[in-house]
Symmetry: C2
Subunit: 252 residues, 2 copies
DNA sequence: CGTCCACTTGAAACCTATCAACTATGGTGG
DNA sequence: CCACCATAGTTGATAGGTTTCAAGTGGACG
């Protein structure tokens, strides 16, 4: 795990552009003028670079920082008493991984990288200070949190009430939509999908074996092709219909 | 559905005490001084009284108001395309039913009463104004929203990864803990539970028939007794162990 | 070339849903 | 007061989706 020291007074332009994609997202949630944007930028402390499968935030660590994913894919998980792992969220570039880090109580959760990741750390104290000084900043984080409730509510429905095929299809639709707004390389229904079948299983609440079979069904029905870390959507219409996908719960 | 006109300038003390239980909860999330507490109180518009099974907020209605449950039980639901109903949250007295009402986008959901309910309506515009004037108010709502993400994340785990018995036991533990902080009449493990077996099914992602059988198992194992709208917890230890219940995700 | 890991396949067991009765309960009207 | 009805809860039999176990394939990489 590498930490690039990165004095925010004169950070390189490259880094700032990436970080600004998060600032933009905040501003989309609740409009931020240039001063409050700068307050957010001021909370930036450094960039973490972690290899794939490395921990970004371990379950018991404190919460002096918030984490914004700049590059790569990551996930939040919790470990069940029987040793299983539940992946409770997937994070894409531009996502804030831990809104709940703003909360006083420490939460039992871990965040880990799926691919090589670059993660911006924000000082929790600085963010709280920015929130005190600029009410709009608080509002923006509030909207981020509300968005998260909407996504989680949707997943409740999926995990509790819909079939394995619907869940899988829905996940693909959701990832596709979320990537559209952040990634540049969404060409012709073909996106990166750096999840193994057993990781998919831990997202969808299925066994790895069953994930394999569902994937085969979807492929056989010519809706998607999944291989080598890529997802190719062959028939968006039917995939979305199967998933009963309504993208309205996704921000933006 | 009755609406008690209730001019907030001189509202009766009875009402204010009930509404203050919500203000207290907000303040617990982020401390509010007396001026900001008054700003919240000022957003209060009126009290709705609805009979059991009545709609409090229909799926397509606008969102000029936020709803705080003063008395009774309510639930949020969404209807699945195949006609099934998913109960995505249960609300107890003191709960804010729709944080996401603060959000700009209209959300597809309904809120309905399980019992006779008294619901305070807050003017969305007034709340937003209070948030602009008093940053602490925004922070309080932010923490409420974060709490909601924690609860929803827990239910994701339950619905996706745990068995029917564990879900049921967990629901009971959660309700018990949540009631402890709001209701007065929690005597000896015996609480109100105004949910039919088929409503339980819609909460837990099970069929009504299976709810019945799980309930029998729990009763047979002498952990709980459920009848006539009441839940009696006979053996908290074993129930919590079965549920793998860790109350840390519940506010307060 | 061997090893490891992800993926694949088959068979059996398990959990939960569905369907179809049937019972218990409470309320209503005659 | 009783007959009737609607609703909630109960039970049994069967079917289906998903898990588990066990074994085997395949490619990637030292």
């Amino acid at each position: 795990m590498l930490v690039d020291a990165f004095p925010h007074s004169d950070g390189g332009a490259f880094m700032n552009i990436e970080f600004d994609s998060f600032v933009d997202r905040l501003s989309a949630a609740a409009f931020l003028d240039e001063t409050s944007r700068n307050a957010i930028r001021g909370s930036f402390s450094d960039v973490l670079t972690v290899g794939s499968n490395a921990e970004i935030l371990s379950q018991d660590s404190g919460q002096a920082s918030l984490h914004v994913l700049l590059e790569g894919w990551a996930y939040r998980y919790d470990l069940l008493p029987d040793g299983k792992r539940h992946i409770s969220a997937l994070y894409l570039p531009g996502d804030l991984c831990d809104v709940d880090g703003l909360h006083a109580r420490p939460i039992d959760r871990g965040i880990a990288a799926l691919t090589v990741c670059r993660v911006a750390r924000l000082s929790r104290a600085a963010v709280l200070a920015a929130m005190d000084e600029f009410p709009q900043v608080t509002k923006a984080f509030l909207h981020l949190a509300i968005n998260e409730t909407l996504v989680l509510a949707r997943w409740n429905r999926l995990l509790g009430f819909q079939t394995a095929h619907e869940r899988m299809a829905h996940l693909f639709c959701e990832l596709f939509c979320r990537l559209k707004v952040t990634a540049e390389t969404v060409r012709e229904g073909d996106i990166e999908l750096p999840l193994s079948q057993s990781e998919l299983a831990d997202v969808l609440g299925l066994s790895a074996v069953h994930v394999n079979r569902v994937l085969q069904d979807l492929r056989h029905d010519k809706m998607v092709r999944v291989a080598k870390g890529r997802l190719h959507v062959l028939d968006w219409e039917r995939l979305a219909a199967l998933a009963r996908f309504e993208p309205d719960y996704i921000p933006r």
